[in-house]
């Protein structure tokens, strides 16, 4: 009875122990690639989320910027200062700090757009798989059409159209347009995956049983089918975060992404690209390297997760 009095903590503790004893954790520990990728991703995430605490300077605080400090090379090169480990840009901003703030914006946009595309994709996929018929046919035709265009092109179109619709948009709205542009290109994958699993689940006995006792379709979809089709979505979401970050960086590099007042990694690369020819390679090299590190580690993690969760590959 003592255990029953406080069931929740025991439950989560045992779930946690189950996780650490389980196959997934074991496969994680025995894969140096996964551990390395997770470490890199973790460091980037912590630096980005705690930028105010970790960053040596605040790149958006105009009062602390001095033109004297502009275009300093990294600290270990001639002319570099220890104050600016990775050098400074044309306005005297510390690159390392700008990187941390920029990574945060990149990650935020990436995660937000993936969440939104999961919401759209899972809903439409469930609907298509569960309802079937014309609804299914229509949703799948739309998916076909979306898939026949490269995602970067669709994102560019939406973002371009959004920009010309609201030319004097405030920054918050610019972010919404950007997230929407990336999310509207990513949902197709989820919709197709979820539809496939839903088609299988729909005919299982538990769904029929629920129907027999008079549970409504909406409730069956939400409470019974949904939890059973979310597994592949998790794997897909990990990989999609990487591609969403790349899409965001590409759009920002092209000048149609995040507003200039809150630079992401892509904006930083774009800014640095202008000074590449005068020899200041570090302004563009560090954000590029960060972008590659993040996407590579997230991709590797996604690959590992796909293998670890797939019982057929064990």
């Amino acid at each position: 009875m003592a255990a029953d009095a406080d069931p929740k903590p025991t439950l989560s503790a045992s779930a946690l122990r189950g996780f650490f004893d389980g196959d997934v954790w074991h496969s994680f520990r025995s894969s140096p690639m996964a551990v390395g990728a997770a470490l890199v991703a973790l460091v980037c995430m912590v630096c980005a989320l705690l930028a105010e605490l970790v960053a040596p300077h605040n790149p958006f605080d105009l009062a602390t910027l001095e033109l004297m400090d502009s275009l300093k090379p990294p600290a270990w090169l001639e002319g570099g200062e220890r104050k600016f480990l990775l050098g400074t840009d044309g306005q005297g901003r510390d690159i390392l700090s700008a990187l941390m703030y920029g990574t945060r914006i990149s990650l935020l946009v990436g995660v937000a757009s993936v969440l939104l595309s999961i919401a759209i994709g899972v809903t439409l996929g469930l609907l298509a798989g569960f309802v079937g018929g014309r609804v299914d046919a229509f949703i799948m035709r739309v998916c076909d059409v979306m898939l026949s265009f490269p995602s970067i092109l669709v994102a560019l179109m939406i973002s371009g159209v959004g920009r010309s619709l609201f030319p004097q948009a405030p920054d918050a709205l610019a972010f919404v347009v950007l997230v929407l542009a990336i999310a509207l290109t990513g949902w197709v994958q989820y919709a197709r995956t979820v539809r496939g699993s839903t088609l299988v689940e729909r005919h299982k006995e538990y769904v029929q049983a629920a129907r027999v006792i008079g549970v409504g379709s909406l409730r069956i979809m939400r409470r019974h089918v949904l939890p059973n089709v979310l597994g592949p979505v998790l794997v897909l979401a990990t990989i999609q975060v990487a591609s969403a970050i790349i899409t965001e960086a590409t759009l920002s590099f092209l000048g149609v992404g995040v507003p200039v007042t809150s630079p992401s990694l892509g904006t930083l690369i774009r800014n640095g690209n202008d000074t590449l020819f005068s020899g200041e390679w570090w302004i563009t090299a560090w954000p590029s390297l960060t972008l590659v590190l993040i996407t590579l580690s997230v991709n590797l993690l996604g690959d590992w997760l796909r293998d670890a969760l797939n019982p057929r590959l064990r």
Partner: protein, 325 residues
């Protein structure tokens, strides 16, 4: 068969009409053409006269129909930024983009296929392993980062290759070509390599996978048993059968190349359609945006339709399945 083709054509038509509708809505709701043409101080009579002239007083469906008819003839009006006809602008930029995309596809094929064969034949060896790890970078590195890296190495540090614009071009009637001069070719190297990087890794991985599959089949074992040389087995028998999917994928990817050229053109300031489009987006130049939107969709729809029909012609199984439905 006929039903299938008709259905596909209908689908393509619906897609094109929806894209045209989006482009039309852009014209309708962004900026007022009357204001743009007459300026702020025109009288109300002048405005309504022009509105009548342009057909802006008609019903919405009529205006849309007019837009579609004009668009089908390549007529998108006048660029707001450059003050020239959009169709002329696009015609000027089209050769640059097409040349870039075709050369990139060529590079991807010429290097991708041999490297893929090599990676398959030397599977498990260090060099092949290195190649496969290399392709992982080709997939994860964003296109513009590859471009910047190449510019930094070959244009800024080594000063071997130019990194800006198209160089010297030769006019062949309406077409301008950079393929005929040394300067033009030099300018083409970095952008084309950048654009081909992703497709190259894609083709290489595909050829490797297909090769490994084919090498396991009986007819290869039989060819070996007949005492044919390695060379004849690999290139005479095995490679031939891997090429069908490679050709399809390359065909499909040609559209992607034209789309990805937007990024490459921005990095190298290549005067093609992509650069035109990006500048149009930044200046809210609606006619150019709308024209590009319609043109690129048309390219994609045509390529996809073509590949679908080709599949149908090549693979008899699809025809049987089509009848069963």
């Amino acid at each position: 068969m006929l039903v299938f083709i008709l259905r596909r054509m209908l689908q393509a038509l619906v897609v094109m009409l929806s894209v045209a509708f989006i482009a039309f809505m852009l014209f309708q709701y962004v900026g007022d053409p009357v204001n743009n043409l007459l300026g702020q101080d025109a009288t109300e009579e002048q405005r309504s006269a022009l509105r009548k002239d342009l057909g802006l007083d008609r019903a919405f469906p009529v205006q849309f129909a007019r837009f579609v008819v004009n668009a089908a003839q390549g007529e998108f009006g006048i660029s707001l930024r450059q003050g020239r006809k959009v169709s002329t602008l696009i015609a000027e930029c089209l050769p640059a983009t097409l040349e870039l995309a075709l050369v990139a596809a060529f590079i991807a094929l010429v290097f991708g296929i041999p490297l893929g064969v090599y990676a398959a034949l030397r599977r498990g060896r260090a060099t092949a392993q290195l190649l496969m790890t290399g392709t992982l970078f080709g997939v994860s590195l964003p296109n513009f980062v590859i471009g910047i890296l190449l510019i930094w190495i070959f244009a800024v540090e080594l000063k071997w290759l130019p990194s800006f614009g198209r160089g010297e071009v030769v006019a062949l009637g309406a077409w301008t070509s950079g393929l005929l001069t040394r300067d033009g070719l030099l300018h083409l190297v970095l952008p084309a390599v950048t654009l081909s990087a992703f497709q190259l890794t894609l083709i290489m991985r595909l050829v490797r996978a297909e090769m490994l599959e084919v090498l396991r089949t009986d007819y290869i074992r039989f060819a070996r048993a007949r005492g044919l040389t390695d060379r004849s087995v690999y290139f005479g028998h095995a490679l031939k059968n891997t090429l069908v999917p490679v050709i399809t994928i390359t065909g499909l990817q040609l559209g992607s190349l034209i789309a990805f050229a937007i990024i490459t053109e921005q990095v190298f300031q290549w005067p093609g359609m992509g650069l035109l489009f990006i500048q149009a987006v930044q200046f809210a130049d609606i006619p150019v945006m709308a024209a590009y939107l319609c043109l690129i969709s048309l390219i994609f729809v045509v390529i996809n339709l073509g590949v679908d029909l080709l599949y149908f012609a090549v693979d008899p199984r699809l025809r049987v399945e089509g009848k069963a439905h």
